[in-house]
């Protein structure tokens, strides 16, 4: 019990397990939710398929390349959703005063919030994305080596950390203002969508934004340069293809620092 990693892992499994079990009680709606996620992903890939059957390429990117970009983003998103979904409506914790109950628990508040609700149906998004990703790999005729496999895993984990940092940022806003105002939607939904296409289609200002401010280009575009063996860095240094973990850690540290500041300035709504 003295090792904190073991202790927190056990606690996480206990808390998360309880919620997952409660969700699984409604097996039918869980099944429908999984089906919905799969249908949504299938619809988007289908539309991209239709688009690229007609147009073949955009800026030299073919359908498999685009599927690559899309699935990298989607995998990162799914992973983040499984772990960090609770932060999405964090304003409810603040408005209803639930956060006060969290604060008196003998664990770090962020840990408790994250562990208390794990939405497993996002695992079906993960599965769908893996299928799309493998199909893209096959269609683009890239050999799956151990090196590429590891690179992909690191990329996806980094990508999910980047998106998680966005979540944390919006939770911090909720902490201070009492409403997150769907800021996650702007940060994540829109940036994920933007990163599903090669950033060469955007003007310079947008590319800079997606690289340095909302670094979703590191979730999809730059790592894809490496995996697809492309060389379109658009004036950025070539080592950006390995930059995902750095971008993720940097962004996460910044957002976590803001979160800590937010926690220090938190006042209960008192209701």
């Amino acid at each position: 019990m003295c090792n904190p990693i073991v202790r927190y892992s056990k606690l996480y499994l206990l808390l998360a397990g309880a919620y997952v079990r409660s969700r699984l009680q409604y097996r039918l709606s869980f099944g429908f939710m999984c089906a919905a996620v799969i249908a949504g992903e299938a619809c988007l890939i289908g539309l991209l398929g239709v688009l690229f059957t007609k147009f073949r390429t955009v800026n030299g990117w073919t359908l498999p390349d685009i599927m690559f970009l899309y699935s990298l983003g989607s995998l990162a998103f799914a992973l983040m959703k499984i772990v960090g979904n609770q932060l999405d409506d964090f304003d409810r914790y603040v408005v209803r005063g639930d956060l006060d109950a969290v604060l008196i628990k003998p664990v770090p508040p962020l840990f408790y919030v994250l562990a208390s609700r794990v939405e497993l149906h996002h695992a079906s998004r993960m599965l769908t994305s893996i299928v799309i990703f493998c199909a893209a790999f096959y269609m683009a005729r890239i050999r799956l080596t151990i090196g590429r496999g590891l690179f992909t895993i690191i990329t996806v984990v980094s990508g999910s950390l980047i998106m998680f940092a966005f979540m944390l940022l919006s939770a911090t806003v909720a902490l201070l203002t009492g409403k997150s105002g769907k800021i996650t939607d702007i940060l994540i939904t829109a940036s994920k969508e933007a990163a599903a296409f090669p950033i060469s289609i955007y003007p310079l200002a947008v590319r800079l934004l997606l690289t340095f401010i909302l670094p979703v280009a590191f979730v999809t575009y730059y790592p894809a340069m490496h995996l697809l063996g492309k060389d379109q860095f658009l004036g950025m240094p070539a080592y950006f293809q390995f930059g995902a973990p750095v971008a993720a850690v940097a962004l996460l540290l910044c957002c976590y620092a803001l979160w800590r500041i937010g926690m220090r300035h938190y006042y209960s709504t008192g209701s």
Binding site: F32, M33, C34, C43, G46, L51, V58, K182, V206
Partner: protein, 265 residues
């Protein structure tokens, strides 16, 4: 009629309280539309026209279809019904001397009217000015477009109503709703690209499904892909779907009432 107008007015006023959220939503919508505008500009790089769409026409199509997509985010009648069933509020609705289906339609119109004024029209105007998009060919086209949009709205309402009624049988309809709307409806609605670009088989399927009548039909009228007497045909198909789905909704609702009576007491 006055009763229903009151419901619509009420719903309209309620949306006014969420002004901040609406601004955020408008902002997100504009971002999304910008992504697609850039995508299509890059896709058309070096092309003059594809399937009768030159760059200006395709951009107009995308902007109008993305604007009409907002109905999907506003209406949420399925979720409203689910909520009413879960909380039991539906019982008080049933006691009112008013038709449940039409009451919800009125509520939907009220909510959506707000979106049209403060979200859809500004978006359209913004992109129209920014990209110098096409305008409808004539006043007649404008009129037909507006009728077509309204019929599409009624069709979407009825599809959502049908899904919502399922809440009388299953506890949670979120999954079914998303599967039908995000999966099937979006794919066949033509919001992402015109149906002319679909492979023959899929285009044929889309033609026989009601979803294209929600977004593709009005948009194709707006950009002048459907003109003259063909517009009348499209309106008739839309009317057909609106009536059929309304009837189905009514049927499902009556079945649900019987089911509710068994549970009641």
């Amino acid at each position: 009629m006055r009763k229903y107008l009151a419901f619509a007015a009420n719903a309209f006023q309620r949306t006014l309280t969420y002004r901040f959220e609406l601004w955020v939503e408008l902002f997100i919508n504009v971002l999304f539309m910008l992504i697609y505008v850039y995508l299509w500009k890059a896709l058309y790089n070096g092309r003059s026209a594809v399937e009768g769409y030159d760059l200006t026409r395709i951009l107009t199509y995308i902007v109008v279809s993305q604007t009409l997509l907002s109905f999907h985010f506003t209406l949420r009648i399925a979720r409203v019904i689910e909520e009413k069933v879960r909380t039991g509020e539906v019982v008080t609705d049933l006691m009112k001397p008013i038709d449940f289906q039409l009451m919800l339609l009125a509520t939907g119109v009220g909510t959506t009217f707000h979106t049209v004024l403060f979200n859809m029209l500004p978006k359209l105007l913004l992109f129209y000015v920014g990209l110098r998009l096409l305008l409808p060919g004539s006043i007649l086209t404008v009129g037909v477009f507006i009728i077509s949009v309204m019929l599409g709205f009624v069709i979407l309402f009825n599809i959502e109503f049908l899904i919502g009624i399922l809440a009388f049988w299953v506890v949670e309809i979120r999954g079914i709703y998303f599967a039908v709307i995000w999966g099937i409806s979006w794919f066949f609605s033509g919001y992402f690209l015109p149906l002319e670009h679909y492979p023959d088989l899929l285009a044929k399927m889309a033609e026989y499904l009601p979803f294209q009548a929600i977004i593709y039909s009005p948009t194709a009228i707006y950009v002048g892909r459907i003109t003259g007497s063909a517009m009348v045909g499209v309106l008739l198909i839309q009317l057909f779907w609106a009536v059929v789905l309304m009837g189905l909704g009514r049927f499902a609702y009556l079945a649900a009432l019987r089911k509710l009576a068994i549970q009641g007491g």
